[in-house]
């Protein structure tokens, strides 16, 4: 038996190889049939070959991006998809088994509405709770972290989240405003004085709420897990083993909010830079945790505020890219495969992507010019995309096929390409989804020389 090198001593390449071995041969897998196992491994290899740019896969893989689309296809409301776990899983099973994508976007994006209710989540509205039962959940932007709280975040992020930020955005955490920092629990002599806060009625109420919330989170995750195990045993591969993102987006989306972070770029640029730096290890850890838990090294990083029109090149270079790059490189160091999703367009950012090591990342493009991007970064990164939502929702299937053909010819050339739609869909014409998948399977084959 060969001795396993300790993780700390492995190179990034060895870590990646180790993760890929586990991905290809999952521990405790119980494949339904040898055929299911062959399909599973065929799909993993197809994706990995496209990503690593070392050789062409047997054909272009297809990975439809979606959030509530399976619910739409199954004819259940988004509210059902968030509250009736049985219906949710059934809708996703039906989607995966009927459409047979090479990678699927799982039901974890449906989110448990029951959990949101219990915990009294305030930062979003969701079906039946502030938006229609047929609308997806949507963020309510706000300055949830105040301008003068940058130092609290930078000095002690966990404490800031626990006692200040979470109580503000989640009603169920409100009592924790009464706590003192846990790092004050230092000596036996003042233990009672430290813990007295836990005895306050507001804190006790929060603790009780969190017990209920924890149970619901567990119930939802068990449903997700049994879904993942079942579809894997039938040969299917999840497109996301974990999630991470750009530190600037964490700050701009959910802490300071879009409006405030834009002001901060002028009024307190140094604070932004310190904060995003502080978030780097947190975002790396978030992705690695996901990969460890799922055994799937592909980490999705949804990117928002670095798009072409959202900031200038100078702002991107100063505020956005350096820490995003650190997160990406940190994930690579841990043997993960970062897969950033560039929402909007990234036509003016391509030269930055060229700084990344070749064959280590795969980029989802929404409205970026794919043909131009192939020329600039085709030898560095695998490209994923980008059939427009408008075609998926309103056009005839023939138009979807025509679009796919251009991608196959111009972007698929030589490998390094995964067919997908441009941005995650809540709805689409079933025949258009089928057209994208089937057309690519039929016409995206590579000759193996």
């Amino acid at each position: 038996m060969s001795e396993q090198k300790p993780w700390q001593k492995m190179t990034a390449e060895e870590r990646l190889e180790s993760r890929l071995r586990n991905f290809l041969n999952p521990k405790n897998a119980n494949f339904e049939s040898p055929e299911a196992q062959a399909n599973y491994q065929g799909r993993v290899n197809r994706l990995i070959d496209a990503i690593q740019l070392k050789k062409k896969p047997d054909r272009i893989p297809v990975y439809p991006l979606l959030t509530f689309l399976p619910a739409h296809l199954a004819g259940i409301t988004y509210k059902d998809a968030m509250y009736d776990y049985g219906k949710t899983m059934e809708a996703w099973r039906k989607y995966v088994y009927e459409y047979e994508p090479d990678a699927y976007a799982g039901p974890f994006l449906a989110i448990s509405g029951k959990l949101l209710d219990i915990i009294q989540y305030k930062m979003y509205r969701w079906p039946g709770r502030g938006v229609s039962e047929r609308a997806p959940y949507q963020c309510v932007e706000g300055e949830y972290m105040k301008a003068e709280e940058y130092d609290d975040l930078i000095n002690d992020p966990s404490d800031f989240f626990l006692r200040i930020y979470l109580p503000r955005i989640i009603g169920g955490f409100a009592g924790f405003q009464k706590l003192r920092p846990f790092s004050e629990i230092i000596e036996i002599t003042s233990l009672a004085q430290n813990l007295i806060y836990l005895g306050m009625p507001e804190v006790q109420e929060t603790l009780e709420t969190l017990i209920v919330a924890g149970k619901e989170a567990m119930a939802w995750l068990m449903e997700l897990l049994s879904f993942e195990v079942e579809v894997r045993n039938r040969g299917f591969v999840s497109g996301a083993g974990g999630m991470s993102g750009a530190p600037f987006d964490v700050l701009g989306d959910t802490l300071r909010g879009t409006q405030a972070v834009m002001m901060d770029m002028y009024r307190r640029p140094e604070k932004i830079l310190q904060a995003v730096e502080r978030l780097v290890p947190i975002m790396i850890r978030r992705g690695v945790k996901g990969a460890n838990a799922t055994g799937n090294p592909m980490i999705t990083l949804p990117l928002h505020k670095g798009a072409d029109n959202f900031m200038s090149d100078a702002q991107f270079q100063k505020f956005y890219w350096p820490t995003l790059k650190k997160v990406i490189l940190g994930l690579i160091e841990e043997g993960c495969i970062p897969m950033p999703f560039a929402e909007g367009s990234y036509n003016r950012r391509l030269q930055y992507l060229a700084e990344l090591p070749a064959g280590k990342t795969a980029w989802f493009f929404d409205q970026t010019d794919m043909v131009k991007a192939k020329e600039v970064i085709g030898d560095r990164v695998c490209m994923i995309g980008n059939v427009p939502s408008s075609l998926m929702i309103s056009a005839e299937p023939r138009k979807v096929e025509e679009y796919c053909q251009v991608l196959i010819d111009k972007v698929g050339k030589g490998g390094g390409f995964i067919m997908a739609n441009g941005t995650a869909l809540d709805e689409a014409k079933p025949e258009n989804l089928r057209a994208m998948i089937e057309y690519t399977k039929k016409n995206g084959k590579y000759s193996q020389k």
Binding site: V140, Y266, S312, S390
Partner: protein, 208 residues
Amino acid sequence: MADELTNLIADLKETEALELVEKRLSAGGNPLDILAAARGGLEIVGKRFAANEYFIPDLVYSGEILRQVVKIVEPKLKGGHEMKRIGKVVFGTVAGDIHDIGKDIVVFMLDINGFEVHDLGIDIPAQAFVDKIKETGAPIVGLSGFLTLAFDAMKETIKAIEAAGLRDKVKIMIGGGQIDEEIRKYTGADAFGKDAIEAVKLAKQFLR
């Protein structure tokens, strides 16, 4: 040569611009002239945005500077200080969608460019657009939406405008993250725009 205040705002010098406003006011400067100079700065910001020299953060920041200028100047104004308006626009994010960042930027740019904008807000049912068009007689309607569900909501809103007999009295523009020519046709809108500058351009064309 442009006014100093105009230039400071165009260059996004918040502190200097506000100091100059205070200085001019205490020296007995005409508040209306100060506002005009500030708006001139915003016009330059808009041009720089159109030329890809400025981006959304710069646009938003210039709006914030103007807001503060108005706050300082307003108490000194006797009576109306409204600029002359060139046309009315009814604007809103369509039903089911609560996104407002894009909408707010477009509304702001239309306002700065002399339009009287009736901003209905977010998640607006079709009937509310119809009612507002009737009430204001606005010849221009702007529908905003970030989510793909907005495609159908826009289509239904335009149908409702048609059913109310108003379709030939208004020009309708749409915009938002996933909106393109395909969706313009799908919804039956007159035009779509990719950003706030295009919205202003379209609105001005509609007035002709």
